[in-house]
């Protein structure tokens, strides 16, 4: 499989920057802006929200980026379409955003659990060649669990997979809270799609603990005949590949009891704006940035020859 190379291949630093916009100014949008700020190939051209008092807009303005409180309308009003638009709003709004942006030559990268776009998990699908211009990053629990689930299903006969993620209350914004049903449906759908296992289940807990608990995902599977040693090897290898773009991704426990497998994962955030416990946002945003940077690399030759795009 060549996917590991795909994941670890950094976008060439010589690529001319592509223009990107971020819609949504909650914690996830704010972290996206900070990651775009770090990127050599992504140029933040607009941060659009609805709430004039949101910390996300202030943060973007402080970094010197154009901001607007007109949401999607500000994106549509741009003189030429952005190369990439990140949607960090909510699942209901995303469907409408896609309808409006579809006619434009823009790659829409969806951070909401809308289930609308083409699902991308860097270590499974790669990030080089989405065939559609709407890419779904599934969910935080999906990004944390599917790499392990996919590796287990490739190595063993898996009968059932269940993932239970726990997010700290202080980092679960209003959209997350209103989109629990979409989270459950979309994460379960991704598990089935990437493992071929029909019987899957996703659960989300919000932890009120103070100090806040680090984002964690427990993966339970029924795998007849699996040995602890073989499972640990498969899990360790899959986790190593995820760490190529999300360095805070850790296997905390991995146990086998009869046909029951339990893998506990934690993600510590590597971010300029997020607390360390907010690994849920870090892993999904890191994957989103990877997709955008690979898209920038793909656009580069066209830009170099001056071809219209």
């Amino acid at each position: 499989m060549t996917i590991a190379e795909d994941v670890t291949a950094a976008a060439p630093a010589t690529v001319p920057p592509v223009s990107v916009a971020v819609i949504g100014t909650g914690a996830i949008g704010q972290d996206l802006v900070s990651k775009i700020h770090r990127s050599a190939v992504l140029e933040c051209a607009l941060v659009a929200g609805r709430n004039p008092h949101s910390g996300g807009l202030e943060h973007a303005a402080r970094l010197g980026y154009p901001t607007s409180t007109d949401g999607i309308d500000a994106v549509l009003a741009a003189p030429r379409p952005f190369d990439v638009v990140f949607d960090a709003t909510n699942a209901q709004s995303h469907a409408e955003h896609w309808r409006l942006l579809r006619p434009l030559d823009t790659l829409l990268i969806d951070l909401t659990p809308s289930k609308v776009g083409q699902m991308v998990v860097p270590t499974i699908t790669g990030t080089h060649t989405p065939t559609e211009r709407n890419v779904s990053l599934i969910s935080c629990g999906g990004q944390a669990s599917t790499p392990i689930a996919h590796a287990l299903a490739a190595a063993f006969q898996v009968e059932y997979i269940e993932v239970v993620s726990t997010v700290a209350s202080s980092i679960a914004g209003r959209a997350t809270r209103l989109n629990l049903d979409e989270y459950v449906a979309t994460t379960g759908h991704a598990l089935t799609t990437f493992t071929g296992v029909a019987d899957t289940k996703a659960i989300l807990n919000i932890s009120p603990a103070v100090p806040p608990a680090t984002f964690r995902t427990a993966l339970h599977a029924v795998i007849p005949g699996a040995t602890a040693e073989a499972v640990r090897a498969v899990v360790a290898e899959a986790a190593e590949r995820v760490r190529a773009f999300a360095p805070g991704y850790e296997v905390i426990a991995c146990g086998v009891d009869g046909d029951r497998v339990v893998v506990s994962l934690e993600v510590i955030a590597d971010s300029d704006v997020l607390p360390r416990y907010a690994g849920n946002l870090d892993i999904i945003n890191s994957a989103a940035i990877l997709v955008a940077e690979q898209h920038a690399a793909r656009l580069a030759p066209a830009a170099g020859t001056g071809a219209a795009r």
Partner: protein, 338 residues
């Protein structure tokens, strides 16, 4: 004489005591007995509610669909209740429950995370369903916080709201303060719910305190059937409420018969206040963790009481059973290093 509506989650919360293994005959038999006693609401489901059958907390012996259709058929006058935790069940599960004829639909959320119920309570309001909201692990919040969250969920569409003493941590004075604060925050038209657990032997006393403070809906389970030390023992609660001056409308002999049936057909033995139940009550941890704590700590050779206190220190809430593995591994490693 004041009236209290008794809500009976024997066939839902009791499931925690038997790893969610109640079968169809048990469900039908108890529902018929409860109906005969005139118990107003009989709640049924997996211990964690609709859509919650899972490896994380235990897979149910019977599907949600079969549980609901079985109990629905068995009830002639009693209402059927269901329970659902957002993040576990979804609006689709609620829609199915309404289609199955569920009369009372309870949405449970951690006591300070009520915004998680906004969507589901709104959905139930649109459906015209009798939606309740219960604030779980309520010992983790102050009376003022509970009152604020209770008022908020009424705004979302809850027609009744209340607290669960999920860890069995409260003493009667705690309950009086909290029910009083909620009562004052939600207005007279909204019944207030109390759901007790018996970890510290206080479930009936706490329930009487709740009724005295103005709770209009009180939960109880036959023989206290529930996780660990169990819930409030229903057939004790009802006559005690009557003697205290609260009418329940329940027939005493038929209630005692239902409890006999429950002891014989639902449980290997009635709940007792064992060491671990006392510890989980003191530590403020849901007793539903008991089976997994015992299994895993037994294998690792660590003291299950230490596991409960550590889970309490980490502020584990219902649904976070996956933390048990980590805590046992950590305590086991500490022991090896010592």
């Amino acid at each position: 004489m004041n009236t209290v509506v008794i809500h009976d989650p024997t066939l839902r919360d009791g499931q925690h005591a038997v790893r969610h293994q109640l079968g169809v005959a048990a469900l039908r038999g108890y529902a018929e007995a409860a109906d005969a006693a005139g118990i107003p609401v009989v709640e049924v489901g997996h211990g964690n509610g609709l859509g919650a059958s899972s490896l994380q907390v235990g897979r149910a012996a019977v599907s949600d669909d079969l549980m609901l259709s079985t109990v629905r058929e068995a009830l002639r006058t009693s209402k059927m209740g269901v329970f659902m935790l957002p993040g576990w069940g979804t609006c689709e599960d609620l829609r199915k429950a309404v289609a199955h004829g569920a009369d009372v639909i309870r949405v449970g959320v951690h006591c300070t995370e009520t915004s998680l119920a906004e969507r589901h309570l709104g959905f139930l309001r649109e459906q015209g369903a009798d939606a309740h909201c219960v604030l779980m692990m309520s010992h983790m919040a102050t009376p003022a916080e509970l009152a604020e969250h209770a008022a908020r969920v009424v705004g979302y569409g809850a027609r009744a709201v209340g607290i669960m003493d999920s860890a069995g941590h409260f003493l009667p004075q705690d309950v009086t303060e909290r029910i009083g604060a909620i009562r004052g925050a939600v207005g007279d038209g909204v019944p207030v719910i109390f759901h007790g657990h018996n970890n510290l032997g206080m479930a009936v006393a706490n329930s009487v305190a709740a009724a005295g403070a103005g709770a209009g809906i009180i939960d109880g389970c036959a023989r206290g059937f529930g996780a660990g030390a169990g819930n409030t023992q229903l057939e004790v609660l009802v006559p005690v409420l009557e003697r205290t001056g609260f009418r329940t409308g329940i027939d005493l002999y038929a209630l005692l018969d239902a409890a006999e049936f429950a002891e014989r057909e639902l449980m290997p033995a009635p709940p007792t206040t064992g060491s671990l139940s006392i510890v989980s009550g003191l530590a403020g941890v849901f007793s539903g963790f008991k089976h997994q704590v015992l299994d895993l700590s037994g294998r690792a050779g660590v003291d299950p009481r230490d596991v409960f206190f550590e889970l309490g220190r980490r502020q584990a809430i219902a649904g976070q059973e996956d933390l048990i593995v980590d805590v046992v591994a950590e305590l086991s490693a500490k022991r090896a290093a010592a």
